[in-house]
Each structure stands twice: as C-alpha cells, then as structure tokens.
C-alpha cells in the first residue's frame, strides 16, 4: 500500500501545529465559536449532541495493522474504548475532549492518518470498493487512482470553497460495491472494445433530501485522462453550482437543472483547455502509485485443512458461506469481518477488537485491512488454509457473526443517539431488528437483504438505496419511521419508493417482520431475493403486508 513520503509527513505536521494553535486560541477565548467552527471542521472536528466528535479519514478504506492498532490506542487513551466505522469508510470517535484533539491528531500522523477534508465544502475522503486489489471480478485495483485523487484534492487551492461538499467514489470492477451512482462523481472501471481499461464516469448522484442516481457523463474515459477530466468536472461545478440555497448546492442539482448535455459540453471545453497543463506529470505519479499498490506475494499451498474444517465444524461452514468472497488469486479468499453481532451497534469496534483485527492482518493477511461502506472490516488477502485459525480468533473476540449481506447486516447512521442533526434514533432500531431475526432463526432462509437506516433526511445511512430503507423522522415530537422499498446501491442503482405512512418506534420492528415474512410467502423460490421479488411483483403486495388494515378496507 501507499506510504507517506516526506512531503506528506511535513504537510501533516504543519497542519497539526496550526490546529493546535487554533485550539489554544479558542480555549483562551481569543477565537469565537463562529471563527473557530470552520477551522475545526476543516480538521474533522464536530460538536455533536453529547460531546465533540472527531472524524478520521481512512482513504479508500485501506489500513495496515499498525494504523488499526493506533486507532485502538486512540480509542482507549482519549475516548471510551471504541470507535465507529461509517458509510464513508471513516472512523468516528464520539467522546474526545477539545484540549485532547491536537494530541490525537499527532498520534494519527505517526501512522500517516489525518482528519483533513472529512468535513466542509471540499472534496471529501475518496472512497473505493472495499474489495479493491483482491476481487476476482476486478479490472484493476482502483486505489492508485483513489490515492492520485487524494493527493490532487488535498488542499487543492481552487476547490477549498466549493458550493457544497463533494464526494468521489471509485470502483475497479464493473460490479459496483462502492455505490458510485450515489456520489457527486462515481468512477467505475470498465474495458473498451480494444480491451483497454478506462472509466465510466458518472456525475450528479447523491442521496439526502433530493436523492438522485448519477448520470453517465463519459461512458469510457481513457485512464490517462482521468485527473484533468475530474478537475474539469469540479471546476465547472465550482462556477455553476448554486451558492444561494444550501439545499440546491450539490452537483446533483446543477446537473438536474442544467441537463447532462450542457454539463458534458462545458466539461469537455474545460478538459480541452486544461489537459495540456497536466503534461504527463499525473501519469508519472500514477505509475509510481501503481507500483506501491502492487499485489502482495501470494503464497501457494493446499486448502485441504479448510475443506476439512468445513466438514467438521458447521459454525465455521456457515461463516465461510456468508463471510467469504471470491479472490483473484488461487487458494485465496476475501474475509468480511462482521461488525454487526446481533444486538450490537452497527460499525462499532472496541479497542480490543481493533487489535485482534490488526494482529490477524499482520499474521495472515499481508498486513492489509479494509473498511467497507457497509460498516464492516475486510481482510482482503487470506489464504484459505489460514481460515480456520482466523475464524477461531474472530470467535474469541466476538467478531465471527455469520451474517454478511443478510437481514442483520444493517447499515445504521449514528442517529439521535449522537448526531446533532438527527430527527430520530437509528441505532436501537437496527439492534432490535437484528435481535428479532436472530430469534426467528430465519436469516439464512431469507437470504441476501440490505436494510439501511438513517436518522434524518441527510441519508448518511444510505436508506434510499436499501432494499428496505428506514428513515427516522420527528412527527409532532415523536419518533416516526418511514419505510422505502426496492432501493439498490449496486450497478443497477435505484432509489427506493416510499411504502406509505410511517410507523412509531414500537411499530417499526413488527412492520419489518411482516414485510420480510411476507416476502418469504411471495417469492417464487428460495433463490429469488427480496429485491428480485420486489422487481417482479411491484410494490403492491409488499404494501399489503405492511398495511394489513388498509388492504382489508380496500378489499371490502
């Protein structure tokens, strides 16, 4: 993976020293909150309901063991012994004290991590496919490009005051695990007819108040044109994007109001104008980055021990059925570690658990870890012969839940348990749904199903692209939960449709249960997933199970 060079290290040290001085001036009263707030946000520091919150970037979700161990140390030393992994592949600490934050940032810098541009109207942490560099279906590892974008966007003078925040996601595979169609810019690696790798460039996607699926601005962009083309998009947006209304300021609205044709024409013009300035420098840098992301030396060996363990240990077999994915190297697998034990807070890991994962990465997985936008942790390169040992260690640490992609593998944003913007809680809803389906012992029969929960319209929990989405609202001073159906965050992305009136906190768990049990009756075979059944049958039969009283009245 990429290691910081002297430039990166010096840059971070300088930024951290600056922020330390700013914090000191805030504490002694020489900076007002109005003056300080933009400064702290530039360094990822928010003030939430109960405390400050520090959001640390995990660029394209990639960590090594030493970095994970540092995250554990920070959790223990300055927080309450845990961290929360988010849908943007970041980690959030929920309880830091203001005067400790400069020390935390210095500790992060020791392992090349920071909190820069995790907030504010800038280009945010670039996210990527969490199976990058490992997936059997990938064209190329997208991380060199993601790192190129990180270096280009960090402190880019033209893009520090965009109309609004700007999120870029990269997938190295035509199978989209990075929700590229719900980003300001989505890059999906594909091959052209000549077999050369390039990008399908998608622009203007986004969730939140006005959810939109991104539109294809360039069906095939040669890899060499990527940086000038992305710069062209952002600079067109920088001029054209609306600054008069916060709710209309994202590029999705710019694209919607101007039309993709006009945007494309403007971007092409700008691209032509600036392309020459890049003068191949970006390509030289990219090839260096590609070298630093070279795949590890995969080992060879037989996988008999793995096969044998599957036969003798049913729990291991079940875990390996759900939590492994196809790796590009022979004898290897991608391991997804679930941070969704039934009843636990989605995305939370204790310092001890982080250390176990760091050890496993170092011992068995070429020192690599990934954070997924689905709030799980990935060991991307594991030889199958090591799986039984890894499973045993995960089990001891409470990390062996066999539920990846199933009903209890729920995305939930922090909601009103932490977030100052929330209109309702999301964590307890996720906990109760997971516990209920665990009791019913039906998870594995139900099969692939993505439930996603947000605690307000900002949609950090991606509810619009959940097969079942849940949005928490405040209805006249009471928590109320609205269900959307049929959303999809994959390459066939779709925004879910609202099912009908919302449910109270007491009603929402039984409603989800009715819906999922109803699906079991509606599917044409055990192979038809919830989403497939929904697409075949439409919303009506699902609404009928959700609102039985209404269905009875309609029938009468």
């Amino acid at each position: 993976m990429y290691h910081y060079n002297d430039f990166d290290t010096a840059f971070l040290a300088e930024r951290n020293a600056q922020f330390r001085a700013q914090v000191a001036r805030r504490i002694d009263g020489s900076l007002t909150e109005d003056e300080f707030k933009p400064l702290r946000l530039m360094n990822g520091l928010y003030l939430q309901l109960h405390a400050y919150m520090l959001r640390v970037a995990i660029p394209y979700g990639t960590l090594n063991g030493a970095q994970m161990r540092k995250l554990a140390e920070i959790a223990e030393r300055w927080d309450k012994g845990y961290g929360h992994f988010t849908t943007r592949q970041n980690i959030q600490y929920n309880w830091p004290k203001l005067q400790d934050v400069p020390d935390i940032l210095d500790a992060l810098a020791e392992v090349g991590l920071h909190a820069i541009q995790t907030s504010g109207n800038t280009i945010r942490n670039v996210t990527a496919d969490h199976f990058a560099g490992a997936a059997a279906d990938e064209v190329e590892d997208p991380r060199p490009v993601a790192e190129l974008l990180r270096q280009w966007s960090t402190d880019h003078p033209e893009f520090q005051f965009l109309p609004r925040k700007f999120k870029i996601a990269v997938s190295g595979s035509p199978v989209d695990r990075a929700v590229t169609k719900a980003h300001d810019i989505g890059l999906r690696m594909v091959r052209n007819d000549a077999g050369e790798p390039g990008f399908e460039v998608i622009v203007g996607g986004g969730l939140g108040r006005t959810p939109m699926i991104g539109k294809v601005i360039a069906p095939f962009l040669p890899k060499a044109d990527l940086l000038p083309y992305v710069e062209a998009i952002v600079s067109v947006y920088n001029l054209l994007g609306r600054r008069d209304n916060k709710y209309k300021a994202r590029i999705k609205i710019t694209v919607h109001e101007n039309g993709i044709e006009r945007i494309r024409a403007l971007v092409e013009d700008r691209f032509t104008a600036i392309k020459a300035q890049f003068a191949g420098f970006d390509q030289k840098l990219l090839s260096k980055l590609e070298a630093s992301f070279a795949p590890p030396a995969f080992k060879t060996g037989n996988t008999k021990g793995y096969e044998a363990a599957r036969l003798t240990n049913p729990a291991f077999a079940s875990w390996s059925d759900t939590n492994l994915s196809a790796h590009k190297a022979d004898g290897y697998a991608i391991v997804s570690i679930s941070l969704k034990a039934h009843g636990a807070t989605p995305g939370d890991a204790t310092a001890d658990q982080m250390r176990v994962m760091a050890d496993l990465a170092e011992t068995y997985a070429h020192d690599e870890l990934r954070i997924s936008h689905e709030q799980n942790v990935i060991l991307p390169h594991v030889h199958k012969s090591d799986l039984p040992a890894i499973y045993a260690k995960l089990r001891e640490a409470g990390l062996a839940t066999a539920n990846i992609g199933l009903v209890s593998d729920i995305i939930a944003c922090p909601g009103m348990d932490y977030c100052a913007l929330a209109t309702a809680r999301s964590i307890p809803i996720a906990q109760e749904i997971a516990e209920r389906f665990d009791e019913l012992k039906l998870e594995h029969d139900i099969g692939p199903l993505k439930i996603k929960i947000s605690g307000c319209i900002n949609a950090c929990g991606h509810h619009h692209v959940g097969h079942i989405g849940i949005l928490g609202l405040d209805r006249a001073g009471v928590e109320n939960y609205q269900i959307t159906l049929g959303g999809d965050g994959s390459e066939d992305a779709a925004i879910g449709e609202r099912a009908g009136p919302g449910f109270s906190a007491d009603e929402i768990i039984p409603a989800i249960e009715r819906l999922v049990l109803g699906y079991l009756d509606l599917r044409d075979s055990a192979d038809e997933t919830f989403l497939q059944a929904y697409r075949r049958l439409g919303a009506a039969p699902f609404k009928a199970v959700l609102y039985p009283e209404q269905a009875k009245q309609d029938a009468a």
């Binding site: 909150e33 309901l49 203001l98 001073g477």
Partner: protein, 98 residues
Amino acid sequence: MPRAFTPKVVTANHLLEGDVIYQTPTGWTRDLAQAEVLEDEAHADLRLLEATQQRDVVVGAYLAEVEPTDAGPRPTHFREAFRMRGPSNYSHGKQAEL
C-alpha cells in the same frame, strides 16, 4: 394570536468537554433538575444573551422547552431527553455520570 410563552431553560455544550450543560442563576450545571426555569420571555431572551457572551465557557447556547415538576424541570421533547441522558446504545454520557 401569538402563542403563549412556555417555560424554558438555557442549554449549551461545554467548550472543553463538549457535553450538555444548563444555566443556573449563578453559573452552569450538568444536571437539568438544577437548571433555572425561565417563565418570562423577555427574561429568557436576556439570560440567553448573557449565556452567549460567555464564549470561553459555552458553545451553541439556546432555549429548550421544559416542563416544571416538583423534582425540577423535565424535557418536553425527546431530543432534549436524549441530551439529558446520553445515548441509548451504551451507558455513556450523563446517565453514567450523574
């Protein structure tokens, strides 16, 4: 007709700790039951202004609606109830401290 003024407290986050605090007649408390209940709108606005000026102590002061009881003021909205108690997934925050 303008709506009748309902009782309020001044609440904010503490600058250093970041946690929830409430204004008392003489300073600040972390216990809502000890907070000063403001029944008069003009007085409430004045107290809020005073709180806002303490910029090296508090952040984001505002008036939150409460219901006075024998045991002191209680929150009327669930958001304020969570602020008073802490998160529901762990016993952290005020519920663990008071």
